[in-house]
Amino acid sequence: MPWNEQYEPVIGLEVHAQLLTKSKAFCSCSTEFGREPNSNVCPVCLGMPGVLPVLNRNLVEFIIRMGLATNCAIAPHSIFARKNYFYPDLPKGYQISQYEEPICSNGWIEIELEDGTRKKIGITRIHMEEDAGKSIHDQDSDTLVDMNRCGVPLIEIVSEPDIRSPRESYLYMHKIRQTVTYLGICDGNMEEGSLRCDANVSVRKKGETKLGTKTEVKNMNSFRFVEKALEYEINRQIDLLESGEKIIQQTLLWDSNKGIAAPMRSKEEAHDYRYFPDPDLAPVFVDEKWIAGVKKTLPEFPTARRDRFVSEYKLPKYDADVLTAEKELADYFEGVVKNLVKKTDESFKLASNWTMTDVLRVLNEQHIVLRDFPLPPNHHAEMINLIVDGTISGKIAKDVFEEMLKSKDSPKSIVEKNGLMQVSDEGAIERVIDEILTNNKGQVEEYQSGKEQVFGFFVGQTMKAMKGKANPKVVNEVLRRLLEQMKK
């Protein structure tokens, strides 16, 4: 839904990313997902009296990676703060976070708009904090609390109010997701909550330089909802202003079932967090040597990888863009390439086509992620090897591909078991064609009288008779030769 063109939205996003450390931020409990409730816990994350938190080295390493990838300044000195509020899933009564002196600040990332232009979005700060536990309100007359997630490390990425549309917000979120997954610091799954997004939204008349009153929109737990919720909120604010009313500064929760953002019920004091430096955690000092060490662990970034795919595998830019959009897909493609017997441009392009069309199609159809894709890269490569060396046709390969997905069998054994080898033997193909031409005298006459399209009919009949296993190139050659002979 487009909005009144006289207005301009101003959006800033706060993104929380759950980090892929093995243990929690301030204690040695496992961060593993899906365990029995309240089994990944210890006195530290349960907030027992007298315990002391100790910082996980990888939390610092991971956030430095993110800071470097987003062009941030890495603070040589940074401290933790307590953010105080009461909620049952926060047993200490405060969340360990950073307030003054966050570790990363003043960065930017670039998004690519639909028309191909690039836009920089400023990153105000990125800081470390811990997650809360999980409250379940709908399974019992009481609220049930599971502390397994309590203390799992998060980073919060706060953007500048540089975003001007829901579409740009969507693109920004995608860029953040691409960055954290390439860095290997977060799995990027919005639906499962490993990546969460809150937005600060205001609108103003175009040309106005002062910011309007903002609202905060929460609970947008998918990429699509980010766009929809922001469109809703922008229109709501414009409608209010147009009817002469004022925007009230408040927090709204996106309700994806109703398609509306409704004000959250809470007291004003809830936002008085009374931050103060956490005396239990020593300050973090990051020197140049540490930063240089982390720099060495940074992976190849999407743009560089895309350019390499074009130069190394001679792929079209379009293919390279699709394949490198997600790290997992690029890794998969290179896994296939590694197992190709003939490393030629032709086989690279085949691997690209199969990955872009067939692999992505199956992921979409089955609503799965690449991690759960049943066909490993080496089997995929083996299938392409069979196409390249002429053992099977591209058409038969489609059947082999489907069969591999079902049986998880290797392509070689599927081809052997089902006798799918391509027939390239001219003699065998000639015998079949001979019979078809004899049985279809009418069509032969049509062809002789100049109806060239009938050629396709003969090819079709031959393939049908040979159950799709005939080598199409040989069929074409033989057919053309026999028809020419008959002319004479």
């Binding site: 309240n38 100790v54 008085d272 000092f285």
Partner: protein, 97 residues
């Protein structure tokens, strides 16, 4: 800057504490006494002194990212005033934090 009885009430509400009118008055007086003492410290010129967040000069107290066993589910729930076999139970709270 002096503390009013409203300030005390606000801080009490944030800490989920309830006080009698007499207590509130007493705390207002005590808060003001403490702040008056702080005012004395404010007479010192600290414009060239870095704010101090920690009194002990420790830095980078880090542990490696290694999982160690914590408590079992049974131990974790042992002292909870209300629980079922898997969860802590609290009076129903609705709405977000």
């Amino acid at each position: 800057m002096s503390v009013t009885i409203q300030d005390v009430e606000k801080i009490a509400a944030l800490a989920r504490l309830e006080f009698t009118p007499e207590e509130k008055e007493k705390f207002t007086r005590q808060f003001n006494d403490i702040l008056a003492y702080m005012e004395k410290l404010n007479q010192l010129d600290t414009s060239n002194v870095e704010p101090l967040s920690h009194v002990i000069e420790l830095k980078n107290v880090l542990r490696e990212d290694v999982v160690k066993p914590g408590l079992t589910q049974e131990q974790a729930l042992q002292n909870a005033p209300a629980k079922d076999d898997k969860f802590f139970k609290v009076p129903k709270v609705i709405g977000e934090k």
